[in-house]
Symmetry: C2
Subunit: 230 residues, 2 copies
């Protein structure tokens, strides 16, 4: 399906909430599976956070996965004035959470930037709490609202569109997550298809707030429809 | 002040949100400081949780401080159908949180019982996240609302009154916490004095929701007023 999109001349950008690896590693994995994509074609929360940090002169304390740290290599992290929270996995220790909390509560106006707000995800050894749960813990303890930079944040889709150089009405989102993919893209003015694979659940079709522009059985069918419409 | 209350013939019950020690250990510490109190005079979240577990036939998975576990000695904990959350401190590990989460999300109707909802507290080595923060994390991940059994829960004060054998209108709460002590007791029909010591902050006097029946400078002054009124 990716080959057919490329051959048609359409532009393509991958939007991921992956925060356990740099884009470089993410792309390496995809290429190993046979997908012909480049780092520039990936929009991910960490680079979006870096843009935001630079724009606002923020120096982060990072509570993220070890493998994500290189994304922040060029960011000044001395004397932190905000906390950036990702899916830190094994780094979500009691000591690390207390450290992030103390930094936040010690700030005149605590700034908490979260690389996503997922509730949980599945790994081979079972379900794991995702970054959103730890975000809620810190939000409650510090009486602060986190700024979320991953999907479904409008900013995130805007930055993907900026990288494509395309206005929202000329773009279409294909995703399996009714809120993060479909809802986020639509709030940004894009159309969105939901694939009936991956995270999709039949109950999504009765979602109280989000309704995709269409359902498709899989990515191949989404590409069929888009190419027909051209 | 405690001696004067005892000498006057008034009944006394201590209401604590302590969840890092059994009542036995809590009382031992107080007695070592010279306070003449007994275990029966202490109302604490863990025994309140045990009553609730028994009433509803619930078998808990415990995520609590090691020192609190003996309070649950007589409770059936096999094949758990609920999670009891306390201030687990060093037991708040990534693995333990995922384990509690998996049990909850695997229940048809997840039951989360929290021994408090404090945001944070201070120890000699700095501020620490309290049980409320971890409660919020699990609530969000499982889309469930925790049942709080410590202060300011109405149930908690009712159980203190039951132990005293006194109706709420004949009881008075003295505390330093505007929401947990004063607000909780008042919601239960008791009058409540706030002492201007401990957790008290001048901003409490402008609290948007809770207004104590009176302020007193300290416990001794509270006892003076109460004994005068007799």
């Amino acid at each position: 399906s990716l080959h057919r999109i490329k051959a048609s001349g359409l532009k393509l950008q991958l939007c991921t909430n992956e925060t356990q690896a740099t884009r470089e590693n993410f792309v390496r994995k995809l290429r190993a599976m046979g997908f012909d994509v480049s780092v520039a074609q990936v929009t991910a929360p960490a680079p979006a956070a870096c843009r935001l940090l630079r724009e606002r002169g923020l120096r982060p304390h990072l509570l993220v996965h070890d493998d994500l740290v290189p994304e922040f290599a060029e960011i000044n992290k001395t004397n932190p004035n905000c906390v950036v929270l990702g899916d830190a996995a094994e780094n979500f220790t009691y000591a690390n959470l207390n450290e992030a909390f103390r930094l936040l509560i010690g700030m005149e106006k605590p700034v908490l930037i979260s690389l996503g707000k997922g509730r949980y995800y599945k790994e081979t050894d079972g379900l794991k709490l995702d970054v959103g749960a730890y975000m809620k813990a810190l939000e409650y303890a510090c009486d602060v609202q986190a700024e979320v930079v991953g999907k479904p944040a409008k900013r995130f889709f805007e930055s993907a569109l900026a990288e494509l150089g395309v206005p929202p009405e000329q773009a279409i989102m294909i995703g399996d997550d009714i809120v993060n993919d479909v809802g986020g893209a639509q709030q940004c003015g894009m159309r969105a298809l939901q694939v009936r694979t991956g995270k999709y659940r039949p109950s999504d079709e009765n979602h109280p707030e989000v309704k995709p522009d269409a359902y498709v059985n899989n990515l191949a069918e989404a590409v069929d429809i888009i190419l027909q419409e051209l």
